[in-house]
C-alpha cells in the first residue's frame, strides 16, 4: 500500500467532498490517478471505486491512464484557430511523433486538445505541465520539443515575462495582461483594505441595502441582481452559509478574471470578505480553474497577508464575531462548472453536473447549506460600491444597467485584451475602440451568446439590449462563418456533462448536419432542420450550457443565412453523404481487390 496516497487522503481529512484536491495532489506526484490509487482512495474514504472514478473521469485534466512526462494541452478555441493553431498542432505532432489525444510511445509527450484556457488575446497558447505558453509558433514548437527531449524542465523554457504582476517572483509567467483600458470601478486606484473602514460601521443588512441600491447585476452573464441574491440567502433559515466565488471563466473568449487575479486579487478577496459579512458566511471559497494554477502561489500569499492583517480569521477587519476565512478550490477542466450548481457539485468533490432547480443555492447550496455564488467581477465591483455608495455606481452605465463591464476582446482586432467600459457602448464603438480589422461578425458573450453581423452593430451593450458576460470575439471578413459555428458547436459537445439526453446527443446530431453542409452535401431542408432541432435545445435542457448550445447555429442562421445558402446544393432535395467508393475501401483492402474505375 502506497502511503503516499494515504497521506494525501489524510491531509484532506478523509473527506470525500475533497476528492478534487485529492486527485490534484496525486496527479502532481504521479501525473495520473491509476487503478490502484483509485482503489486505495475508495477504501480509505469507504466509498465504491466507481464513485471515485466517476468524479475523476469527468475532468479534462485528470487521467486514469498514465499521461506523458510533458503534457501539452493546446487550446482549440476559434481564436486559436484564427491565429494559426492548425499549423502549430501539426508541428507539435511532427516533433513529438504522436497524435493529439495520445501519449508518445516513449511516454515523453502527451498531446491534448483543450477548450479555451483563457488566453484568447495571445493565441495559440498551450499549458504544458502547468506552465502557460502563449503566442506559440512553429519555430517555438521545435525549440520546446527539442529542449524537452534534452531533459529541460518547463520552467527552464520560460523565456520572457508578461507585464505587471506576471513578472513578480511568485508568478513569473509569460502571460501578458493586455489591460487596454482601465475604468472607474474595477481597475481604478485602490488601496487594499480601504473598504473595511466603512464596512466596520455597517450592519450586514446595510451592506445588502447598499448593494441593492447600486442595481448591480451578476457579471457572469445571467445578470441576477446581486443584492437580491444576498438577501435571499440571509432569509434561508440555516445559519451555516457559504460564499463561493466563481473564477472558472470557461466561456471561450473570456479572460478578464485572469487579469483581475493577476493584478488586483486583493480587490477580489476584499469583495469576498464584504459579501461574506453581508450574508453571514462561515467560509468563502474561490473556485479557480486549473488553467490558472500558475497564479496559486501569488493568490495564497495575498490570502496569508490578509490573515496577518486581520482581514481573515477571527473578528475579521475588527468586526466583533465575524469569523471568516477563504480557501481556494481548484477545478480541473470542465466548462460546465461555471454553472453555479455544477460549481457547487464540483466543490463537493463530485461530477460537475448542474442540479435541478429549485431549490436554488441561496437556500440549498454547498453542502446543502445556503450559498451565494458570485462572479469575480461582481465581487470586485462590490468593494467600490461599499466605498463610494450605490448612487455613485448607478451614475454610470445605462438606465437599467449600472456601472462598468469588463470586456475580453479577441479575434481579428489590433488590440486584443481587457477593456473596462461603461455599459451602453455600441458594438460599433467597441469595434473601433479595439481596432477591429474588417469585421464581419461579433460573437457576443462567447459561444453561448449571440453571433451578430453588421446589422446589429449599432446595438448597445447592456441588459436592456445586448447583455453579455463580456467575451467578445471579432470575426473578420475572410473567416468562414460556418467553420466558426462548427468550432463553437464542438465546444459544447466536448463540454456537455452528458446528463440531459438532448444536450448529450442532439448537439452531436447538429454538428454532423452542419458538417454535411460544410462538405457541400447539404440541401435546403437541412437548414430548416438545423433551426428546428436547435430550437428544441432551448426548451429541453436543464442548464445554461444545454439551453444555449445551439445558439451559434441559431443566431448564425438568423444573421448569416447567405453563408449557409451558399453551401447548399442547388436543385436537390435529397443528399446523404454516402460515397460508394469510400464505403468499399476497407473490404477491398481486406480481400485484395481494388475498386474498378
Amino acid at each position: 500500500m502506497s502511503s503516499q496516497v494515504q497521506s494525501i487522503v489524510d491531509k484532506f481529512g478523509n473527506d470525500a467532498t475533497r476528492l478534487m484536491d485529492i486527485f490534484i495532489d496525486i496527479s502532481k506526484d504521479k501525473g495520473h490517478v491509476g487503478e490502484e490509487d483509485i482503489a486505495e482512495i475508495a477504501d480509505q474514504l469507504n466509498i465504491s471505486r466507481v464513485d471515485v472514478e466517476q468524479t475523476l473521469s469527468f475532468y479534462h485534466f485528470f487521467s486514469k491512464e498514465p499521461r506523458g512526462k510533458y503534457n501539452i494541452y493546446l487550446n482549440n478555441s476559434v481564436v486559436a484557430e484564427f491565429m494559426g493553431r492548425e499549423e502549430v498542432a501539426d508541428a507539435v505532432e511532427k516533433a513529438t511523433g504522436t497524435q493529439f489525444g495520445s501519449v508518445s510511445e516513449d511516454g515523453l509527450f502527451g498531446l491534448y486538445d483543450t477548450s479555451c484556457i483563457g488566453m484568447n488575446d495571445q493565441e495559440p497558447a498551450a499549458i504544458i505541465n502547468g506552465v502557460v505558453f502563449p503566442k506559440i509558433t512553429t519555430y517555438r514548437v521545435r525549440e520546446l520539443i527539442k529542449s524537452f527531449r534534452a531533459g529541460k524542465t518547463v520552467t527552464e523554457m520560460v523565456n520572457s515575462f508578461g507585464g505587471g504582476q506576471n513578472q513578480s517572483a511568485l508568478i513569473k509567467s509569460m502571460v501578458t495582461n493586455n489591460l487596454n483600458r482601465r475604468g472607474a470601478v474595477i481597475f481604478s486606484d485602490h488601496t487594499a483594505g480601504d473598504s473595511f473602514i466603512k464596512l466596520g460601521s455597517m450592519k450586514p443588512k446595510e451592506v445588502i441595502e447598499e448593494v441593492k441600491n447600486s442595481n448591480i447585476r451578476g457579471r457572469g452573464g445571467a445578470g441576477f441582481p446581486t443584492g437580491l441574491k444576498w438577501e435571499f440567502c440571509t432569509r434561508a433559515g440555516n445559519k451555516e452559509r457559504y460564499l463561493l466565488c466563481n473564477a472558472d471563466e470557461g466561456e471561450p473568449g473570456t479572460f478578464k478574471d485572469r487579469v483581475i487575479l493577476t493584478e488586483i486579487p486583493h480587490l477580489l478577496f476584499e469583495g469576498m470578505v464584504i459579501a461574506g459579512y453581508a450574508i453571514g458566511a462561515k467560509e468563502g471559497i474561490l473556485y479557480l480553474r486549473l488553467e490558472y494554477e500558475y497564479l496559486q502561489n501569488h493568490l495564497e500569499t495575498i490570502l496569508d497577508d490578509f490573515r496577518k492583517k486581520g482581514w481573515l480569521g477571527k473578528n475579521v477587519a475588527g468586526i466583533d464575531g465575524f469569523n471568516y476565512d477563504i480557501r481556494i478550490q481548484f477545478g480541473a477542466g470542465a466548462y460546465v462548472c461555471g454553472e453555479e450548481t455544477a460549481l457547487i457539485e464540483s466543490c463537493e468533490g463530485k461530477r460537475g453536473e448542474p442540479r435541478n432547480r429549485p431549490p436554488f443555492p441561496v437556500s440549498v447550496g454547498y453542502l446543502d447549506k445556503p450559498t451565494v455564488v458570485n462572479n469575480v467581477e461582481t465581487l470586485c465591483s462590490v468593494v467600490k460600491i461599499i466605498q463610494n455608495g450605490g448612487e455613485w455606481y448607478k451614475s454610470m452605465g445605462t438606465k437599467e444597467t449600472s456601472g462598468t463591464k469588463l470586456l475580453s476582446i479577441s479575434g481579428d482586432v489590433r488590440y486584443p485584451g481587457v477593456f473596462e467600459i461603461e455599459w451602453g457602448m455600441t458594438i460599433r464603438e467597441m469595434l473601433e475602440m479595439a481596432g477591429a480589422i474588417d469585421p464581419k461578425a461579433v460573437q457576443v458573450g462567447g459561444p453561448s451568446g449571440r453571433l451578430i453581423g453588421e446589422n446589429e452593430f449599432d446595438r448597445t451593450i447592456c441588459y436592456e439590449d445586448l447583455p453579455t458576460g463580456g467575451a467578445m470575439i471579432i470575426i473578420g471578413q475572410n473567416r468562414s462563418i460556418l467553420d466558426v459555428i462548427k468550432n463553437f458547436t464542438e465546444f459544447f459537445i466536448e463540454e456537455s456533462c452528458g446528463s440531459c439526453a438532448p444536450c448529450r446527443y442532439l448537439t452531436v446530431i447538429l454538428r454532423n448536419r452542419l458538417q454535411k453542409i460544410i462538405d457541400g452535401k447539404g440541401v435546403a431542408k437541412d437548414l430548416e432542420y438545423l433551426a428546428h432541432w436547435g430550437k428544441q435545445m432551448k426548451m429541453a435542457n436543464r442548464c445554461g450550457l444545454g439551453q444555449t448550445a445551439a445558439n451559434p447555429i441559431l443566431s448564425g442562421l438568423e444573421n448569416f443565412i447567405q453563408d449557409f445558402e451558399a453551401k447548399i446544393e442547388k436543385g436537390k432535395d435529397f443528399d446523404t453523404k454516402f460515397d460508394l467508393d469510400k464505403a468499399i475501401q476497407e473490404s477491398s483492402r481486406a480481400v485484395g481487390r481494388f475498386p474498378q474505375a
Binding site: S48, V50, N356, E494
Partner: protein
Amino acid sequence: MSLIKRIFSSKTEENISGEQKKEYSENEDHKNTNKSNVMNDKIKFTIDGKECKADKGANLVEAAKANGIFIPTLCHLEGVKPAGSCRICNVKINGRFMTACTTEIADGMMIENNTTDIQELRNIIIETLFVSGNHYCPACEKSGNCELQALGYRYKMLVPRFPFEFEEKVVDASTPKIFIDRNRCILCKRCVRSLKTKDGKSIFAINGRGHKAMINIDHELANKMTDEEAQNAMDTCPVGSILKKERGYVDPIGSRKYDKKPIGSEIESVNK
C-alpha cells in the same frame, strides 16, 4: 397517388386513447366532486385545462398519475430522488418548460402536457435516444418490455428522423450475474441512483462526460450481487442495458408488457 401525403402522419395521443380519455374524464369529474367535500387541503391545478387535485408535496408526474393523466418518463423511478435527465417529462408550467419529475406540484399551476410543441420535443428526444445508441430491438431480450421502445410505439415513431451513427459501445459481461450492454443504455441513471449495497455503496456510476459518458459497474461489488439483486437491477433498467444472466425471452411475444397496450394506458384507465 397524390393523396398519399396525407397518410403516415404520426399523430399522437388522439389515436390511442381519445375515447378512453373521454370516459375517464367524466369519471374523474365525478370523483372530484365527491372528494372536494372531504379533502379541502388538496392542491388544485390544471393539466391541459382539466382540473386536477393532488396531495401537497407530490411531484408532477405522480400528481398527474393520481388524476389519470400520463406524463411520459424514462429516468423517473418512484421512490428515488428525481434526476430530470431524460427530459421526456418536459411540460409547460405557466408557460415555461420544466421537467415534471423534478417539479413539486403547487396550487394554481397551469400545466400543458399534451400539446403539439411538447409532443414534438418528446418525439425528438425519443428519436435522439434511438440513434445515440445501437438499439437492435429484434435482438434484445427486453423487447416488448422496454420503456424506450414503448414510448416509440405510443407516439408512433416509424423511423427516427436522425441518421444512425452506430457508435461503438463496449459490453461488460465480466460479472457473474449481470450483463451491461451499453449499446442500449440511455444514461437515465436509474441504476446509479437506486442500486446500492447494504452499506450504501454505489454499484453503478457514470464514467466520462458528454456523449462519451457511459455506465460503469464496480466489479468487486457486482461480483457479490445475489440473484435477487441482479433481477432487481434488470427490472430497474428501463431498457435492455442491464440484463440478468442465464435468463431471457421469458415472456412470449404477444404477452409482453407493451405488446397490446400502450405505456401509460394503465394510468389513463385507472378510474374506469
